[in-house]
């Protein structure tokens, strides 16, 4: 009973090409209708002297479900001897594209309905493209209303050739084409005598021939780290790396590698609640692991098996993107990207080729991506993330873009382009080329100030006491007659960054502004001090770049969250402030930034 398989099928196509009739037929021919429903509707049609249509059946069911409000995405349940089906009826109207996407995202196969009489229409193409982008691999095209086309093999073959040609351009190979008349029932549940020339499967046979995605188990292991749990307060000391296995499998004792940090460990245990002990986890399972060694990993990393083919790591990549936002996607603006469990700020770097929403023509010269456009473009994240190109593994190559709290676009990564010059590097090169210097040179300032300029970042987890140390250090330098300035980050939030609001997708811009401030303050000869919570390798790399040609010193408090970067000084969390200040002063002396420091 529990073992009975279920499959989600999405049905798409242009308005009035007969989706509802197909569903009505499937429900009726598999005996999945509530008792007496078919008779009741036939009777109501007879009384109102209008011809019965299977679409009415669906409308009547929907009305009941909808209780008077417009339904947007209906689910119909029916079953064959082989398995249970949920048919997701995605609306054909363009306004409902968001619902169509939501429906098709969950489908394992798609039925695409085309009217034999009307031929290929706008949404026949658009839906074909969407279904392909969303990763629905199994597409069967139903050439409907064959009764209106005289059950003609020529009409069917012509349409099949035209649409196959379109699909091949968007790299879709349909599983099959079936000529049907949903109204008359031809080729739905049984082969039609009126189309004896057709030798393929009926629609019902085709449904049962669709396969569930089994090959995921065979792919390299991919585990997007969703979270790290430690429920110490409930007397549980396990540190559990939690998430859902996206592909492949892993077992106790296997080596694991976290990307992009590059940290390594091995699986100590597979954790679960109310099950027999597990030693193994594979694709599809929501699981959790403890590791053999204590390493600091963050949500958003990708855990893989280093013995298998590795994913890509990068921050610049070519994608196919579908845009749904009310506002167009533009360059210069920061968005938030979610890929697997990773989140990052992201910018649109280049637009290569765009399929225009209005007339389905291709354009290489568009400057922005409009609502419903499908675009091949280049995106750049503020920090590297681990991903697969979709030819390698699908679920770790799909992403969405958030604009103003809303999911405004989705797409797939096609190619890693991280070797090229990043937007940030271009920006620094440009800025430094045009930097207007005054007449006072840096060495002159250093001589008068009796110290050199420096940007000092105190980092570590919140509550490690880094702010107290940073402030005390500024005071110490000042009392020693030096030009030091401590900048509280909260002041930037409320001042310089006030225009950014509280949006989480502007983290990259906030960091850029700190880096630009550092560039100016160090140019002015200051020892410029600030604090950043939980900075990682890429934050420091970014600040370093922005502060060029000047340099940066990093003091870390408590647990070291960096993966490759070595902080210049490591302090204990919550240690005595005076001792900490001394250690920082010693560091500055060693680095020849200051000559002397008196308490």
């Amino acid at each position: 009973m529990n073992g009975r398989a279920q499959m989600n099928i999405v049905i798409v196509g242009h308005v009035d090409h007969g989706k509802s009739t197909v569903i009505g037929r499937l429900l009726a021919d598999t005996g999945s209708l509530p008792q007496g429903k078919l008779e009741a509707i036939k009777e109501s049609c007879r009384r109102n002297s209008k011809p019965f249509e299977y679409a009415f059946l669906l409308d009547a069911l929907k009305d009941e479900q909808a209780q008077g409000i417009t339904i947007d995405m209906a689910r119909c349940f029916f079953n064959t001897a082989a398995r249970d089906y949920i048919i997701i009826d995605a609306p054909g109207h363009i306004e409902f594209l968001k619902n169509m996407i939501t429906g098709a995202s969950r489908a394992e196969a798609a039925l695409l309905v085309i009217d034999a009489d009307e031929g290929i229409k706008e949404n026949s193409k658009r839906h074909g493209q969407m279904v392909s982008m969303l990763g629905v691999k199994q597409v069967t095209v139903l050439v409907n209303k064959m009764d209106l086309a005289g059950f003609s093999e020529d009409v069917f073959e012509k349409l099949k050739a035209d649409y196959t040609d379109f699909l091949s351009r968007i790299k879709v190979t349909p599983v099959s084409f079936i000529p049907v008349s949903a109204r008359e029932g031809d080729n739905i549940a049984s082969l039609s005598e009126r189309m004896a020339w057709y030798k393929g499967s009926t629609v019902l046979e085709q449904l049962d021939q669709f396969t569930s995605d089994k090959e995921l188990q065979e792919k390299p292991f991919r585990f997007p780290v969703q979270d790290i749990y430690k429920f110490t307060r409930s007397n549980d000391d396990r540190r559990i790396v939690a998430g859902t296995v996206a592909a492949g499998s892993i077992q106790v004792g296997d080596e694991v590698l976290f990307l992009p940090s590059g940290k390594q460990s091995a699986i100590q245990s597979v954790e679960s609640f109310n099950t027999s002990p597990k030693h193994f986890a594979s694709a599809g399972e929501a699981s959790g692991f403890t590791l053999a060694t204590q390493i600091y990993v963050r949500p958003g990393e990708l855990m893989v098996n280093p013995a298998e083919p590795l994913p890509e790591v990068g921050n610049r990549f070519r994608v196919n993107l579908f845009w749904l936002g009310r506002a167009p996607m533009i360059k210069q603006k920061e968005y938030k990207l979610k890929l697997g469990s990773a989140r990052s700020t992201v910018k649109l770097a280049e637009i290569c080729n765009t399929l225009d929403a209005s007339d389905l023509s291709y354009s290489k010269s568009k400057q922005q991506i409009d609502c419903r456009d499908v675009s091949e473009c280049i995106l750049e994240t503020s920090r590297p993330i681990a991903f697969d190109t979709t030819s390698a593994s699908e679920s770790t190559g799909r992403f969405v873009i958030i604009d103003n709290y809303e999911i405004a676009g989705g797409g797939i990564v096609v190619e890693n382009l991280s070797a090229g010059e990043s937007l940030l590097q271009q920006h620094i090169r440009d800025r430094e080329n045009k930097w207007e210097a005054g007449l006072v040179r840096a060495e002159q300032r250093a001589e008068v100030n009796r110290h050199r300029a420096k940007f000092i970042v105190f980092t570590g987890a919140p509550g490690t006491g880094k702010r107290a140390v940073a402030k005390a250090f500024e005071q110490g330098l000042f009392q020693n007659g030096m030009n030091a300035y401590y900048l509280g980050v909260a002041n930037i939030d409320r001042g310089l960054d006030a225009d950014l609001g509280s949006q989480s997708d502007s983290a990259g811009e906030r960091l850029r502004r700190i880096g630009e401030l550092a560039r100016i303050f160090t140019d002015a000869g200051l020892i410029f001090i600030t604090t950043i919570d939980d900075a990682d390798d890429y934050d420091i790399e970014t600040l370093k770049l922005l502060n060029e040609p000047n340099d940066i010193l990093v003091v870390n408090h408590g647990e070291n969250g960096f993966s490759r970067f070595q902080p210049d000084l490591q302090l204990v969390a919550g240690g005595a402030v005076a001792d900490a200040v001394h250690l920082v002063a010693d560091l500055l002396k060693t680095k020849e930034i200051i000559i002397d420091y008196q308490i």
């Binding site: 009973m1 008077g68 619902n99 679920s395 958030i402």
Partner: protein, 292 residues
């Protein structure tokens, strides 16, 4: 993985996603079979723990066994248990059982209003103190920005249109016609100040799946769901003045599953024993206004 394994994995993923993304998160626990399965799924997701407060809206007309059950498992499973109520309407007897309102208005006062103001923190929240083993007024008054709810798409029309992560605006209103897209397993986890998101981990479960899972996991459920000898049982639980049992001989979970599979109820809505659904406007009206 069989079908129940897949449903479980998806629900766990949704719960973990909610826990990761929402700082002020709660889970509504109605004590019914669905939200109890959801609570169990949280224990799955968090390896035996439930790091999310559970909120129950107490109309004080719940069948007494439901409240006993709630408090027993709140203590046994170390739950952060919170209840809220509309004390004003109760004090002024503005209820259907008191004969002062119709059913829908009673639901609106005792459930929708109580829920809205408990979630926003405007009305007092009562938290189970595990040392004193009784409820105390909770100090936390922060509005919940993520609310996990155990609705299922197959229950009723308006629920079939929900997303896994479904936004509600400042006035708690649900814009059914313009919902965000859900691409693959990426959900709406970003929200503007003042708005909140309803999270639905059980959307794809059917009534039969729920009972199959209760059986597989041996989840304790209120005995009201079983025939105790009078050849009736409750199929959906609510307040006693407005909830009626169905005719049934099912005394155990496997018998309930057999009964559902027999098709006996295929033409009878699961909530048909809930009188408020059949009044003017019914559940849809209630739900647009913030009812679950």
């Amino acid at each position: 993985m069989d079908h129940l394994d897949k449903l479980e994995a998806q629900s766990v993923y949704i719960l973990r996603e909610a826990y990761r993304e929402f700082k002020s998160l709660c889970m509504l626990w109605s004590i019914g079979k669905d939200s109890t399965v959801m609570l169990w799924l949280a224990r799955k997701a968090f390896f035996g723990h439930v790091p999310i407060p559970l909120v129950h809206i107490d109309t004080h007309y719940k069948i007494p066994e439901m409240i006993e059950y709630r408090d027993r498992f709140a203590l046994e499973w170390n739950l952060n248990m919170i209840y809220g109520e509309n004390s004003e309407a109760l004090a002024e007897k503005l209820t259907f059982p008191d004969g002062n309102t119709d059913r829908i208005t009673c639901c609106k006062y005792l459930k929708s209003e109580a829920l809205k103001h408990t979630l926003s923190g405007e009305w007092p929240r009562y938290r189970m103190d595990h040392e004193q083993r009784r409820y105390v007024v909770d100090k936390g008054r922060d509005p919940y920005t993520g609310v996990i709810v155990g609705v299922r798409a197959d229950e009723e029309g308006s629920r079939s249109k929900e997303r896994y992560f479904s936004p509600r605006d400042k006035d708690n209103v649900w814009d059914v016609g313009d919902q965000p897209p859900e691409f693959w397993n990426q959900f709406k986890t970003d929200f503007a100040p003042g708005t909140h998101v309803r999270i639905h981990p059980l959307l794809d479960w059917t009534e039969q799946n729920i009972w199959e899972y209760v059986e597989r996991e041996k989840i304790p459920v209120v005995s009201l769901y079983f025939n105790q000898g009078a050849s009736t049982r409750y199929r959906s639980l609510g307040c006693y003045p407005c909830t009626n049992p169905v005719l049934s001989d099912a005394r155990t979970v496997p018998e309930i599953i057999d009964e559902l599979k027999s098709g006996k109820f295929s033409n009878i809505a699961e909530r048909s024993g809930r009188a408020q659904d059949s009044e003017d406007g019914g559940l849809e009206t209630l739900r647009r206004d913030g009812y679950m």
